[in-house]
Symmetry: C2
DNA sequence: ATTATATAGTTCGATATCGAACTTAACAGG
DNA sequence: CCTGTTAAGTTCGATATCGAACTATATAAT
């Protein structure tokens, strides 16, 4: 492994640590049985629109389809999403946010304000703006290159 | 939630996606029952030195102590680490890398070369160098600020 | 039309992860 | 000492996640 490769490796290591730390912070804010996967699905539906299929979500998050089945069951049980059949394809289903789901996602984000403000005292917004585009590009490359 | 906060939120979202994608890539390369937590522990021991305690590792990775017990059991079963009692504190133990553990970690990193090279074709090294310092700072802030 | 193949989703058994309670040992105050 | 508290690690039961096999439906080939 070359010296350059090690820098890439270091980058992904830093990213992994940050993801782990922020995941822990987020899950401390989420109520009862809800975890990051639940929130992430809600967030995805808000950002990219309603009506995604379970398989599409599984693919988006790189988890097995049955794991998504389980995550969606948890969301549905709590009334945060509604799953309706696809009229054009009896195999398929579509996931829709409920009002409670949208509200829950907003509240979850709000509950993180305190943490973000504390973080923002140490890391100014311009530092964030400076890295977002590069990270978005990397995310896109990884996303396009992945198999299946 | 302010507009600025949303940018922080977006950053952590990008980081979370990248971590998820790279985790999947890595676990495809790891043999049989070994997962990212196993590798991450080996990597940590190489980077920061032998002899850490199970509790210290659990704290470093923000996982419960019993989860670390389980991860270490997997590593020990495969002969990648050796766990010895602390002569000065009968409650405590120390984790040491074996030669097999060091070699395994090297091989795991090498097996990722292909993926990294493909990624490097799309994202040049200078982009990596440009963001590592900022991310390292963020990681440090998160690490210092966390509770427990 | 019939058969083969592919796709969407679920079920099942095994493993991982977690919170809570427990065990053992160190430490602190009287 | 003795007692209460803290700390390190494990055990236990519950839940999450996973790979593999299965069901049902759609698509393709002839």
């Amino acid at each position: 492994m070359t010296q350059a490769s090690r820098r890439y490796f270091e980058l992904f290591n830093e990213i992994g640590i940050i993801a782990q730390l922020t995941r822990t912070i987020m899950e401390q804010r989420l109520p009862d049985g809800l975890s990051q996967p639940h929130f992430t699905v809600l967030n995805h539906l808000v950002r990219l629109g309603d009506g995604a299929t379970p398989g599409g979500l599984a693919n988006a998050f790189q988890v097995p389809r049955n794991s998504m089945t389980n995550t969606l069951a948890g969301l549905e049980k709590r009334g945060l999403v509604e799953i309706r059949p696809n009229p054009d394809d009896a195999r398929s289903r579509h996931v829709f946010l409920t009002e409670a789901g949208r509200k829950f996602r907003e509240q979850a984000i709000d509950s993180l304000s305190e943490d973000i403000n504390r973080f923002a005292e140490k890391v100014p917004l311009q530092d964030i703006e400076a890295v977002i585009p590069a990270l978005a590009r990397m995310r896109k490359v990884l996303d396009e290159n992945r198999r299946q």
